[in-house]
């Protein structure tokens, strides 16, 4: 439901995986073939010598530091910022407004709490339901300017018929449609949890 960029997650994980596999291949090759290990060291020393040459050639006047060091440092800093952005992009997109409407007279917004209270009240007497929660998220194809969608989670009593629950909730969804005046995408989650495990099951089916 949330705005996690799943394609990005998978692409980056795949790239890192390939990178690790490549490094692993080099390591195993160096461990098993003496010739490869020798040429690695030869090439490595060669490259390192050239790097040192470059470092020496581009000193910042009056210091021991090279411009290259500064460049590499900023590159690392940039990469770190990107990684932090990657972490921050997980699980985003929660909103607290379900619907918005603009007209000449003014803007109208409906808070998620309104719908949430209505749904909770409607399901409070339902014996199949242990608890209800409602969230709104920015969703592709959602309604309004923000493009919100609803997530309605219902914790089912052990043994409750999912069809009956789904029917009851579907009923509510049509009522929400009427309340809001538009149809927004709805995700209904029928879940099980610790409360489902410990609450007694309904004996009369």
């Amino acid at each position: 439901m949330n705005g996690t960029r799943r394609g990005l997650n998978r692409t980056l994980l795949a790239l890192l995986g390939l990178l690790l596999i490549a490094a692993a291949g080099l390591g195993i090759l160096a461990g098993t073939s003496r010739g490869f290990a020798l040429s690695w060291t030869e090439a490595g020393m060669d490259v390192w010598a050239r790097i040192q040459e470059r470092l020496g050639a581009a000193r910042i006047p009056g210091t021991e530091i090279s411009w290259w060091t500064v460049a590499v440092f900023s590159l690392l800093l940039f990469a770190t910022v990107l990684l932090v952005c990657w972490i921050a992009s997980q699980g985003t997109g929660r909103s607290n407004q379900v619907a918005q409407m603009q007209s000449e007279a003014g803007d109208t917004t409906v808070d998620t709490a309104v719908v949430s209270q209505a749904v909770k009240a409607a399901l409070a007497q339902n014996t199949h339901v242990l608890s209800t929660s409602l969230q709104s998220w920015k969703t592709k194809g959602g309604s309004g300017i923000t493009g919100t969608g609803l997530k309605l989670s219902v914790q089912a009593r052990k043994g409750a018929s999912p069809v009956e629950l789904a029917n009851d909730v579907e009923h509510l969804v049509t009522e929400i449609d009427a309340l809001l005046g538009t149809q927004i995408p709805v995700l209904v989650r029928i879940t099980s949890g610790t409360r489902s495990k410990f609450a007694r099951s309904e004996r009369v089916a």
Binding site: T4, N9, A24, F36, A205
Partner: protein, 214 residues
Amino acid sequence: MSNAPASKAPAKLQRAVRRLGLRETHSSRAALSIVTAAVLVAVLVWLMVEMVLSATGNAALLMSPAELARRTATVATETIPGALVAAGTVLAVLGIALLAAAVVPGRKARHIMGNPGGTSNPRSAVVVDSEVLAAAVSRIARTVAKIAPEQVSSSVGRKRIDVVLQPGSGLAADADSVKEAVEREVAGYGLRRPLAVTVSTPQTKASLHQAVGA
């Protein structure tokens, strides 16, 4: 009960709903991404700290950048081959795990239910935990078999439902009628991925053993 006629949802809404169902039943790989990114951030921050320390002429925390570069250049010959192979193997396992996480669908133990109205255009995506399905199936099975709740256990997998009946000693459970009832119940769920039902009792196992022994 389900006479709320699901008014024909527009195509855009249907697409959004289908997308919601698919996203809810598959892993977003968020946890793994966060862990991976955090490890990388730690490494990069360490590198930057070392760079600053060496530029300001302070002692290195672990290794100065110059020493790190020199060691990387000569690691193949300065390390015993066994250690190189071992480190390579560990890296390979990690790499394959990351690649697998990226490629494998990562389905969660959840199922998409058809919409209750029975129409082909769902108004909402209904995603049910497998545990809820298993509990409902157990209830049907114990009602039909007339046994106690503790004597039935069901598990719902990606493609199948297994129901195990444990009637009291000397009593028989009618596995066939239980299977039929469970199949009827599950057919009513209209699951996006149909589940095959198997019902087993200790008796069926015993007769299997006999058949093998005979």
